[in-house]
């Protein structure tokens, strides 16, 4: 068994909601992350998916202590960093890094690319062999940028190139762990693939572990070893990637996967979609019990009372649901361009899950 490089237990991150007036008073909390537990293993990529506002970025930022968590425990490379001070964290910053979502706002427009990529060396007081400029140019080369563009400014680069700059900066100090927050979401498909391949390559080369935060389920399938699905501050399901896409058991995961349109018109027209009703509830006032119950077609009375625990339903497969749904596989032939025969049936879950009562494994019967 490999060791986790990062281990999170019951992590909570609340943001106070303030009402300003004569006196500013706190009226509640945004429960952005409300008790999540997960491990990131050495050398693996853990995908963290979920809809906008479910707390993915907050979880990623809290995990490497860019935020001060409200509760829970974070262990990084064997060291408890939950309450580590800025000073204690500083040496660790060489080991853990972050790449941000927006390639436009995450780079200082008034700094040259050379200066942006060199920043980690300067902040940490690290003197690379052969000097900073040489190190930076090597990094630029490594991520597919022209080292001669050392003195250019971010606005002279395209979105894909800016994301490469962010990646170069993040690997400057040879970290062991990187939180990638939607690193390719803002890019066109053809460019997205370039950056995904780069991330794949440097992961192998530098033996990196990734927490890959994204809402695009296709990209996450490609890049992840395991995947965690979040909803309203909670983890709903976590398992290896093949199981998650082929045999998800949480009703939310099933709805999420069925909502992604496939670039395959015939398969698309044969597919049945699970349409979720309504919108995401507010994280200030989340539903009682299971937070997904207001949109779940399988919800029963118990769901409003008891918050389901994240529990193991098969080795390495955990879900948080009172009524796990074993999905029925409807075989759909996938057609590829210019392939004379249809491809073997798709492995993704495409049909409505079984509706005939709770599946096995439920933990309350006839009470």
């Amino acid at each position: 068994m490999t060791e986790p490089i990062l281990s999170i237990t019951d992590l909570q991150m609340y943001f106070p909601v303030m009402k300003t007036g004569l006196r500013t008073v706190k009226t509640g909390d945004v429960k952005a992350v409300d008790g999540i537990s997960l491990d990131v293993m050495q050398g693996e990529t853990l995908g963290l998916v979920g809809e906008s506002g479910c707390g993915k970025s907050t979880a990623g930022r809290a995990a490497i202590r860019l935020l001060n968590p409200t509760g829970g425990k974070i262990v990084f490379e064997g060291q408890d960093i939950t309450n580590a001070s800025r000073r204690e964290l500083r040496p660790l910053r060489t080991r853990m890094q972050m790449v941000f979502q927006d390639p436009y706002s995450s780079l200082n427009p008034r700094h040259t690319v050379g200066r942006i990529i060199a920043a980690p060396f300067e902040i940490q007081g690290v003197k690379p062999e052969g000097g900073i400029k040489k190190a930076v140019q090597e990094l630029m080369e490594r991520v597919g940028l022209n080292p001669e563009h050392y003195n250019r400014y971010p606005n002279e680069f395209s979105g894909g190139q800016r994301q490469r700059i962010g990646v170069a900066r993040s690997i400057a100090l040879r970290p062991s762990f990187i939180v990638l927050d939607e690193p390719v979401s803002a890019l066109d498909v053809s460019i997205q693939a370039q950056v995904v391949n780069l991330l794949d390559d440097i992961q192998k080369e530098f033996k990196l572990s990734y927490l890959f935060v994204a809402h695009d389920l296709s990209v996450v399938r490609h890049i992840s070893d395991r995947v965690a699905v979040m909803y309203l501050g909670h983890i709903m399901e976590i398992t290896d990637r093949d199981t998650l896409y082929a045999a998800p058991q949480h009703p939310y995961t099933q709805a999420l996967l069925s909502a992604v349109p496939l670039p395959d018109p015939i398969a698309e027209s044969q597919r049945e979609r699970i349409l979720l009703q309504g919108d995401l509830p507010s994280p200030i006032n989340p539903p009682s019990g299971c937070v997904f119950r207001t949109r779940c077609v399988f919800a029963q009375d118990l769901c409003a009372v008891d918050m389901p625990e994240l529990r193991e339903v098969a080795p390495g497969h955990k879900i948080a649901c009172h009524f796990p749904q074993i999905s029925l596989q409807k075989q759909i032939e996938i057609r590829r361009p210019h392939s004379d025969q249809p491809m073997p049936p798709s492995s993704i879950q495409v049909d409505r899950p079984q509706t005939s009562g709770p599946a096995s494994g439920r933990d309350f019967v006839g009470e």
Partner: protein, 338 residues
């Protein structure tokens, strides 16, 4: 005759750095009851094309030529009065960001009612009732109550529904949706796409959906037009584009996108990046990134812009390579061999 005919549409913006030819000779037809999908990289001219159709471009800043014919009337040469009577009534548009088209200080119901009153001489009350009906129609829960809410009190998905209600309140025959779901989550996207399909059936409208998501195109479109650097590079039925693509850029798009239903070891990107519209390559605009170029004899790709030519009935491709060679290159590419 088609409901909408666009012929040789060109739009250029004079800028300090030179002339930006954003749309360069775009032609297509669309019937009522059909959906045309427009795909292409960021900056390829998708939005400018739709703004030109809606006559929403400022003529002081844009040089526009060509024809946009709706029911025999060319809107490019029509006066502002005529265009205004068409807009909203005959054709309507929904945008990616609903916040930018909803006014923050008026209630959602008032704004839908206002849009209705532009083309209907009715009392405020009648218009508001109609607005409530429309909000109900697009799936806003408790529409009578929610109609007096302000846009910021709506979620992103509800705002997009409100926009659709506004666009549909005069029963337009043409609906243009520019990235209608890009800002939304997939579960909400699924709701909105199914709503667009439903209203299309109900109103028998012609619909243009602009998106960069190939899955969305596969789901909603009957016909597809692929744009690159201001030009149409391939167009055909949705099955032509997804199962028999020929233009190397289309093939590149399909092979670079990771798929939900399959695991691949490695993605196959298109190298490089789209050209600047200020410095377009002399020949084929895709040539600097093209993986099929080496199969073309001579230097045609770098010197001459290929024409958009029919490869089979209803399926047009812009590429110097011959059809059979295009298909064999496409096969290799999709199998990860080049």
């Amino acid at each position: 005759m088609s409901y909408l005919e666009v012929k040789d549409l060109r739009v250029a913006f004079p800028t300090d750095d030179g002339l930006v030819q954003a749309v360069d000779g775009v032609s297509f037809n669309i019937e009522r009851g059909k959906t045309l999908g427009i795909v292409g990289e960021s900056g390829s001219g998708k939005s400018v094309t739709s703004l030109a159709i809606m006559s929403l471009l400022n003529r002081k800043h844009a040089i526009i030529s060509g024809e946009v014919i709706i029911e025999g009337k060319n809107l490019i040469t029509a006066d502002e009065e005529t265009v205004r009577s068409y807009r909203g009534h005959e054709m309507a548009m929904i945008f990616q960001d609903p916040m930018s088209s909803l006014h923050p200080f008026f209630s959602v119901g008032d704004q839908v009612a206002e849009a209705y009153k532009v083309h209907n001489d009715v009392s405020d009350e009648k218009a508001f009732d109609h607005a409530i009906q429309m909000l109900d129609r697009v799936g806003i829960p408790e529409p009578a109550k929610r109609a007096s809410d302000f846009p910021h009190q709506f979620s992103g998905g509800m705002r997009q529904r409100a926009m659709i209600a506004m666009a549909l309140c005069n029963d337009p025959s043409l609906l243009i949706a520019d990235e209608p779901t890009t800002a939304l989550d997939v579960t909400v996207q699924a709701q909105i796409l199914s709503l667009i399909k439903d209203v299309q059936k109900e109103f028998n409208s012609a619909v243009i959906v602009i998106t960069h998501d190939l899955g969305v195109v596969a789901e909603v479109a009957d016909d597809v037009m692929v744009m690159y650097a201001g030009r149409v590079v391939e167009r055909g039925t949705v099955n032509d584009i997804f199962y028999r693509p020929e233009m190397p850029y289309t093939v590149g798009l399909l092979s670079s996108a990771p798929r939900l239903d399959q695991v691949s070891d490695r993605l196959i990107p298109i190298e490089g990046q789209p050209p600047s519209l200020l410095r377009l390559p002399a020949g084929c605009s895709f040539a600097p990134r093209c993986f099929a170029k080496s199969h073309v004899n001579g230097d045609a790709c770098d010197t001459t812009m290929p024409e958009l030519l029919q490869t089979r009935p209803g399926h047009d491709v812009r590429c110097h390579l011959e059809s059979s060679a295009r298909i064999s290159v496409a096969k290799q590419r999709l199998a990860g061999e080049n």
